[in-house]
Symmetry: C2
Subunit: 225 residues, 2 copies
């Protein structure tokens, strides 16, 4: 894809992806030598990538003791959820206020794409999970795309990614992800009819329900690796 990118950037996105999709587990130690081999680069790019990820909250640095993948916890997921409900709601509100026709069509388009992914996901190939996750992210992104606030959007995206890590971990640990096409369509309808109140409520419920599933999944199996 992006072949001419700098090594640091490449390691950054790979590492980020590996953490986000659960290929690197929460709490896992990130030894410099191991990572250098894994991505076939020197120490500097690795270290720089880790620093960026630390600022984004995907990685934790204990001084002179090295990096670890950020831990997950019930408390953190709940906190994330609470905050996300508010931020997503706000972004939705602003987006509805400012969105035009092209914004609407983009929503319809991404909804269509999301709905096109086959339903059974849990035990099906990782391939399809990845596709669904991508369309799902893009659908939700399209809803708030018109909010016209880079600051708010970057916050939203950060929170979304953090939450998606829990989803990915829950999937990769054998959990099934609900593909509530209906739920998404309801949100879309509310948004397209410019019903702020309803949109925010449905968005909140959507997030809260997902959180409930994730919490259940976390409690069922031992949380710690």
């Amino acid at each position: 894809m992006n072949e001419h990118a700098t090594l640091n950037a490449s390691v950054f996105s790979q590492l980020r992806q590996d953490i986000l999709t659960g290929r690197l587990l929460p709490g896992e130690r990130l030894r410099a030598e191991t990572l250098r081999q894994r991505y076939d680069v020197g120490g500097s790019p690795v270290r720089e990538a880790l620093m960026r990820l630390e600022a984004e909250g995907f990685v934790v640095l204990e001084e002179n003791k090295g990096f670890r993948v950020a831990d997950i916890s019930v408390a953190h997921l709940q906190d994330l959820s609470r905050t996300r409900v508010e931020v997503e709601g706000l972004a939705l509100k602003w987006s509805i206020a400012k969105g035009g026709v092209d914004w609407e069509s983009a929503i319809v388009a991404s909804m269509h794409r999301l709905a096109s992914v086959p339903k059974r996901l849990d035990t099906a190939g990782h391939e399809q999970n990845a596709v669904w996750l991508r369309y799902h992210r893009e659908f939700h992104a399209s809803l708030v795309a018109a909010c016209d606030s880079p600051v708010l959007l970057s916050i939203r995206n950060r929170l979304f990614d953090q939450a998606e890590r829990y989803v990915a971990l829950s999937i990769s640990a054998g959990g099934e992800v609900r593909d509530d096409v209906g739920e998404h369509r309801a949100i879309m309808d509310a948004v397209l009819s410019r019903d702020v109140e309803m949109s925010v409520v449905l968005s909140r419920r959507h997030i809260e329900r997902t959180t409930q599933k994730l919490l259940a999944a976390m409690e069922s199996r031992a949380v710690s690796a």
Copy 2:
């Protein structure tokens, strides 16, 4: 202070401070060699610190072309402000809901400290400006300290720091900062009487008024260095 910290951490906080207080100006180029001399360290700590600052939005990296101090703009300040009003309001709401007596006393204490700083600040020593800025930050932090949401708080802090950069730049460019003890006391009273509605409104007005002053200052003198 923290003598045993790692070099990277030291450079990070110094660099951050230099940007936040306007010793390094928006858009200014950050050459590796210059910074190495300035902080008397090798290239690695500098680079790593810059990467972290980039993720925090204080620095911009153009690949293979180096780092620059993040630009400021009217649009960004307005966006920041709008977002901050909402986030700060939410944090206030949650804090009021959960705060106990110790939270209240901490607020009273920091209000007292803030009010103790002499009024005339503009042309007075940089020293006093720094003290006021610190007490000001601590006062506002104490208001939301009980919100019990690390996620929301970290967002709030990030936004606060970004906004403070505009304040510092406006001061260092010769502007005067209003020290509205009354305004702060009004917020405190509303918060301590657990009047969420009033607290949020006053908080909003406080932020918006500051923003107006900053915008005026930005337009009066040429924005670009």
